[in-house]
């Protein structure tokens, strides 16, 4: 095998991986989204078979339609679910940024020998199952939960607050769960910043608060962008948190998808929702990748 062939083979492996585990499943889902629901196994028609022959395939291909997308577009339920998802993801990301930035800033300014410990503390929750941690929030937020008992005990409230099964609970869960994804990229970009730049700014007559906005924030922009995308994208499709903390009131698109698949057994509509969700997120993902590539170039 020549060196060129060897190189090609090496490049081929990840592409093959992506093709088998991403492209093919996506094609199946996309095809499913064009099918019709049926009481059968699998629960949709048409099903292409190997022994149909070209004429059979053509006839079955004619049965495919965009009807499911029409259903989604005409039903407020789906549109609302999409909008709620985007709203919760946007609000959650903003709260994460506001909480995460001071945290990352303090970590980056901490004495050097403390920093590994602080990073460790941010990652520590990952040692426990995500599901268990979200369940724990039910115990904290429910009417007779820890939070309400504490507030009642302190005499701050007269009656238990209804937090569980509201959008607020979802936001609390989202902010709690995704905080490391915001803090770590911010920390990485803030820690790398040369601190003599702030001395130079001060030396040129810039008070500290102004130096924060003129020097620190612009230089941590790559971290801000990375953190926001890393939070916004998965929060939009989040299933577990709205399911456990949001109750029936908070309808997010991930949960809708789950319901369509497993409760309604309407695989074609569920697939259409999945395709739309992907299309919705491709925009931010492409933006994120572009920004990462630009940053790599600038670092060179």
């Amino acid at each position: 095998m020549s060196e060129r062939q060897a190189r090609r083979t090496i490049i081929l492996v990840p592409y093959l991986w992506l093709a088998v585990f991403f492209l093919v499943p996506f094609a199946i889902v996309a095809k499913m989204s064009l099918s019709q629901v049926a009481t059968a196994i699998p629960p949709y028609v048409p099903v292409f078979g190997l022994d149909d022959g070209p004429a059979g395939w053509l006839a079955k291909a004619r049965e495919l339609s965009l009807d499911n997308y029409g259903v989604i577009a005409s039903d407020r339920l789906y549109i609302d679910a999409f909008l709620t998802s985007i709203r919760i993801a946007a609000t959650g990301t903003l709260i994460l940024l506001v909480i995460g930035y001071p945290m990352a800033h303090a970590m980056a300014r901490a004495p050097e020998n403390w920093r590994p410990l602080l990073v460790m503390a941010v990652i520590l929750p990952f040692w426990t199952s995500f599901l268990i941690r979200v369940y724990a929030w039910i115990g904290i937020l429910k009417p007779e939960g820890l939070l309400n008992e504490l507030l009642l005990g302190l005499g701050l409230i007269g009656a238990p607050l209804q937090i569980a099964n509201t959008e607020t609970a979802v936001l609390i869960g989202v902010v709690y769960s995704y905080l490391p994804f915001m803090v770590l990229p911010l920390y990485a970009s803030l820690e790398r910043m040369d601190r003599t730049l702030l001395e130079a700014a001060a030396d040129l007559g810039c008070p500290p608060w102004k130096a924060f906005w003129r020097i620190t924030v612009p230089l941590s922009l790559p971290g801000i962008v990375a953190g926001c995308f890393l939070c916004f994208i998965p929060i939009t499709g989040e299933v577990v948190i709205p399911d456990l903390l949001g109750g029936s009131d908070t309808l997010m698109i991930g949960k809708t998808l789950w319901t369509e698949f497993f409760s309604n057994r309407d695989w074609p509509v569920a697939s259409a929702v999945a395709v739309l969700l992907l299309v919705l997120l491709v925009g931010p993902i492409v933006l994120y990748q572009r920004q990462q590539a630009r940053q790599l170039e600038a670092a060179r």
Binding site: E199, G205, C206
Partner: protein
């Protein structure tokens, strides 16, 4: 400092045109008054006092860790003295934050803002001052012209060479017309040729703008060629302050003598004082030199020192005139440097250096390895070091 008054005065005359430090009526611009800086148990600057006058090009010279950078950072406001006062133009700077001090600094790493263009970097200080836009534009244009960077105004720092970055940093620090410009190892990152060019440019610029420069450096050539005065620092204290000729020709201590340039140092004892003539007995024989006798006593342990280039080297069998110190030894090593040749001569277990300018093209070396030679030093070239 207690170098001999006679020599100091004579050497001072070399640059007598500008010497406010000799004028009792002159008021210093910067005063360090008994300044101490401690980090935990470590003392970076130890009870140091120093005065710098307006329009001086003052060099703080010393090895790394001698406290020179700490001293400068205390003037800029990045460090707070543990004890003592830092005074600028009559105002005690205690409690004045860096952004309100009328000093500007050129950082060793240049510390250019990577997200701003050259133009924006230079304009930053004026924007902070709230200068009108039109004036900022004019002054930035003038500053760019001053450092010959007009063509690169819209570049980002990472698109510049080291020398260009250095000039941006200089323009950025100069544009606010600071009372004192602080330069922290300003030429350290440049290659030798560019460094030498820039040295002359900096001096020309300082004289033209009439500003006060304080430079921190560990490079003695840099300090010698640029500074009006040099403070040689050692372990948080000042070993000697003086003009470059005084520092070189009349070092106050063994440390200064050894730090600046090459020197031969021979330990000995005062054997005789005869009027103005002092005889020191050393392991290499008696050495006589003219010295004011009031600061020394017979039997005192002192050192005699002289510079390699003030040494004449002849073959041992060659006749020489009397009245000078003569030391006989064998050539241990010869270093040919192009412009100079350095001879290392071994005498009684000690190695002495003699430097000879190669005034004509070397066809045949007059002195060779292992040859017996005599080193001749005139009495007035010998230095007496008591500390």
């Amino acid at each position: 400092m207690s170098d001999t008054p006679k020599t100091t005065a004579a050497l001072g005359a070399v640059r007598s045109a500008f010497a406010p430090w000799n004028d009792p009526a002159a008021k210093p611009l910067v005063v360090f008054d008994g300044v101490t800086k401690r980090y935990g148990a470590e003392t970076a600057v130890n009870d140091l006092s120093l005065a710098v006058y307006e329009r001086e090009f003052f060099a703080l010279l010393g090895p790394s860790g001698c406290g020179k950078s700490t001293l400068m950072r205390m003037l800029a406001g990045f460090e707070t003295p543990t004890a003592g006062r830092v005074v600028l133009a009559g105002e005690d700077l205690a409690g004045v934050p860096p952004h309100l001090r009328p000093t500007n600094m050129m950082f060793q790493s240049y510390a250019l803002f990577p997200h701003m263009t050259v133009e924006k970097n230079i304009a930053f200080g004026l924007q902070m001052e709230g200068v009108a836009k039109a004036e900022i534009h004019d002054r930035v244009a003038a500053a760019l012209k001053l450092v010959k960077l007009e063509a690169l105004a819209s570049r980002k720092p990472h698109q510049l060479s080291g020398g260009q970055r250095q000039r941006v940093a200089l323009a950025r620090a100069l544009i606010k017309r600071p009372k004192v410009l602080l330069l922290d190892e300003p030429l350290g990152a440049l290659d030798r040729k560019l460094r030498e060019e820039t040295q002359f440019e900096l001096v020309a610029l300082q004289e033209r703008l009439g500003l006060t420069f304080i430079i921190v450096t560990h490079d003695q050539d840099e300090a010698m060629s640029m500074a009006t005065r040099i403070a040689v620092m050692d372990k948080g204290r000042i070993a000697q302050v003086g003009t470059p000729p005084v520092i070189y020709e009349a070092p106050a201590t063994r440390y200064v003598a050894d730090f600046i340039g090459d020197i031969n140092i021979v330990e000995g004892k005062v054997a005789a004082i005869d009027g103005r003539r002092v005889t020191i007995s050393t392991a290499l024989g008696d050495m006589a030199l003219p010295e004011a006798a009031d600061s020394i006593a017979i039997g005192q342990e002192v050192a005699v020192a002289w510079r390699p280039e003030k040494t004449r080297i002849v073959r041992a069998d060659e006749p020489v005139a009397g009245g000078q110190t003569m030391i006989e030894g064998a050539v241990h090593d010869i270093g040919y440097l192009g412009d100079w040749t350095t001879y290392v001569v071994e005498v009684a277990g000690q190695r002495l250096r003699a430097a000879v300018a190669n005034a004509s093209r070397l066809v045949e070396r007059p002195i060779s390895w292992d040859e017996r030679v005599r080193l001749c030093v005139a009495p007035e070239s010998l230095l007496l070091l008591t500390r």
